[in-house]
């Protein structure tokens, strides 16, 4: 899976590349508009991650170019501006999704997964993780061949964990993923406690025990062992 990351801030770019490579992607980078423009004209990517505010241009113009060229690449807009305007404009231009900085790396992983799944596999895709088999198009989860019935939020939660195997997910990040970006940090535990408890119980009942580890005081982790 080949990605292009367009981000002018070196420190952030390095961290993002790091996190994305850990997630198993092939990542190319562009530090400014000109580089990015050249790359999207020359190469094919599965997804382009665009920062809107670039020193020598507007990221939205890159989105326009991609759409005008009929590119098949998914477009994920990263914005540090007030998300309210860019969201509308970016999505109008045909971006697939957007994230307002600062965002959680785990959230980026989850959005990227969902985006790539929607774009490229058209329902043919399934996710396998240890004894779990997930058909995202059908919203079905099987544990060792047995159907697992989950509520919508529990299913969301599971997909989120599956997008971030082995990653520590802070409880704030999990709460934000479930309930949108305006959740107060103080509420986050309330937000997820019941859902986490129920999801674990359901997994446990089907014999998928110990998949989700609690890192005390910080968050949760989908255990790969």
């Amino acid at each position: 899976m080949k990605l292009l990351l367009v981000e002018d801030e070196a420190a952030l770019r390095l961290t993002l590349v790091d996190a994305l490579r850990q997630g198993g992607y092939v990542v190319e980078v562009a530090a400014d508009f000109a580089q990015a423009y050249e790359k999207i004209k020359l190469y094919q990517y599965d997804c382009v991650l665009v920062d809107l505010t670039l020193p020598d241009g507007d990221g939205l113009d890159l989105v326009r170019t991609l759409k005008a060229d009929g590119s098949l690449a998914g477009v994920l807009v990263l914005t540090a501006r007030d998300g309210i305007d860019d969201r509308v404009q970016g999505l109008d231009l045909g971006a697939d999704d957007y994230l307002v900085k600062p965002f959680h790396l785990s959230e980026l992983n989850a959005r990227l997964r969902a985006l790539l799944r929607r774009r490229q596999f058209q329902g043919q895709h399934h996710i396998v993780f240890r004894d779990l088999l997930v058909w995202p198009e059908l919203a079905e989860v099987h544990v060792s061949g047995e159907l697992l019935t989950l509520t919508r939020k529990e299913y969301d939660l599971l997909l989120y964990f599956l997008a971030n195997p082995g990653r520590l997910l802070t409880k704030e990040a999990v709460a934000e993923h479930l309930c949108g970006d305006q959740v107060d940090a103080a509420d986050s535990f309330d937000f997820i406690y019941t859902h986490m408890k129920n999801l674990r119980k359901k997994l446990q009942e089907k014999g998928a025990d110990g998949y989700i580890r609690t890192i005390y005081g910080v968050g949760y982790k989908l255990s790969t062992e």
Binding site: A80, G83, A175, A185, I215, G217
Partner: protein
């Protein structure tokens, strides 16, 4: 009061005063002159009669009896006024009379007292005509001067009215400085020039403020994003995950940056609302009920965790609002979140939407703060709360932005807090 009315009023006061004074003086002056004339006439006649009598001629018989009156009895001498009956008009008519003692030339004959009279009627008529004509002319002059003044003032003040109308319709949002013309009147020319300069400076300052807001947003969000991403990566270090104390430390630092960035986003949003920086072009027709249902669905986990019951009543016809979708979402999000946050376990939230407004009412502890400060920034219900207390301030600003009314109300029965948003 209008400037024109004010100046005209002073002008009128002066002219009416002068006009009254002039009328009185005119009357008195004419009266005095005419009487003088009559007195001189009577005196001349006295001398003439005295000369005739001295020459031994008899007193002539007067053509009109009233004009010459003789009496052997002494009378008071000199000029005086009297009223005599005019038999034709059958009314009392004023006369000026001069009485003198006449000693006939013949020795031994008794002296006589002669009274010469002259009617004042003609004099009064003349006086009336003259003063009347003069007053009419003066009045016409006064009226004409006032009208002319009015017309001139209107003409001369026209550039000022134009400037005023332009200023009233001025909108800083268009980023266009004023370009007022330079009229022929110097003072107005200077005023317009000063206003043009002022507006240029305003536009410049506004633009730099706007840019500063944008730059500040971008420039601070980026380092925050870096800190947050690095801390999140740091949290992935296996060594850290095994050390609970260390993990909590990093996690707390990470939580702090997150709060900071939230605060930052909220303040940026408030600034942009205050500066009217949401392009009207991005406003679309918003289905408020759908946004409301989406938001409620997102908040479901919090409702469950707090055991709060939320009911949603939407009574058609539903409002047709043209809003920026992001702002509509933010408004509902803040109001709903507020109603859930300041609730107690097992409490209720009732949301009512109809064409006229949106009403969100929730149970909750009695307010300890002044409801008047409800919408102020950083107004926290609980000082220890993690939330910066900007939610309601944002809601209020969004309402003000679209001309919605928003009011808070508390009823003792069931400790109900109600926030009402009224659509125009």
């Amino acid at each position: 009061m209008k400037l024109l009315a004010a100046t005209t009023r002073y002008y009128l006061r002066l002219t009416v005063g002068l006009f009254a004074l002039a009328s009185v003086l005119l009357y008195l002056g004419f009266d005095w002159a005419l009487r003088n004339e009559i007195e001189e006439l009577l005196y001349n006649r006295q001398l003439h009669l005295q000369k005739q009598v001295a020459r031994g001629l008899p007193l002539p018989a007067p053509a009109f009896a009233d004009n010459l009156d003789r009496s052997p009895q002494p009378r008071p001498l000199g000029f005086s006024d009297t009223l005599l009956l005019d038999p034709v008009e059958d009314e009392m008519v004023p006369y000026r009379q001069l009485t003198f003692r006449l000693q006939p030339a013949r020795a031994g004959s008794a002296p006589e007292w002669v009274t010469l009279r002259k009617s004042l009627v003609e004099t009064e008529d003349v006086l009336l005509v003259v003063v009347g004509v003069l007053i009419v002319v003066l009045a016409l002059l006064l009226g004409g001067v006032v009208a002319l003044n009015h017309w001139l003032a209107r003409r001369i003040w026209a550039p000022f009215q134009h400037t005023l109308a332009t200023l009233r319709g001025y909108d800083l949002q268009r980023h266009q400085p004023l370009s007022l013309p330079t009229p022929t009147i110097d003072e107005f020319g200077e005023l317009n020039q000063a206003l043009n300069t002022l507006s240029e400076r305003l536009v410049r300052d506004y633009e730099s403020l706007r840019q500063f807001t944008e730059n500040a947003a971008h420039e601070t969000q980026t380092p925050l994003a870096i800190i947050q991403a690095k801390l999140e990566q740091l949290l992935q270090a296996p060594a850290l995950q095994d050390d609970e104390a260390l993990a909590t430390l990093v996690s707390d630092a990470w939580g702090g940056t997150q709060r900071l960035s939230r605060l930052h986003q909220s303040l940026t949003l408030l600034t942009r609302l205050e500066n009217h920086q949401f392009a009207p072009a991005q406003a679309v027709s918003v289905q408020l009920e759908q946004v409301l249902r989406d938001r409620v669905a997102m908040l479901e986990p919090l409702l469950e965790a707090r055991q709060v019951q939320l009911t949603l009543h939407a009574d058609p016809p539903l409002p047709e609002l043209t809003m920026h979708p992001g702002l509509a979402d933010s408004l509902l999000q803040n109001l709903l979140h507020n109603a859930i946050k300041h609730n107690h376990p097992g409490g209720r939230v009732d949301v009512r939407l109809n064409r006229r407004g949106l009403e969100i009412s929730n149970t909750g502890p009695t307010l300890t703060t002044d409801p008047a400060q409800f919408f102020e920034r950083f107004r926290k219900h609980n000082a220890a709360s993690d939330s910066p207390g900007l939610g309601l301030s944002i809601a209020q600003h969004i309402c003000a932005y679209y001309g919605f009314g928003i009011a808070y109300d508390f009823t003792q029965v069931g400790n109900r807090h109600t926030l009402r948003v009224q659509f125009p």
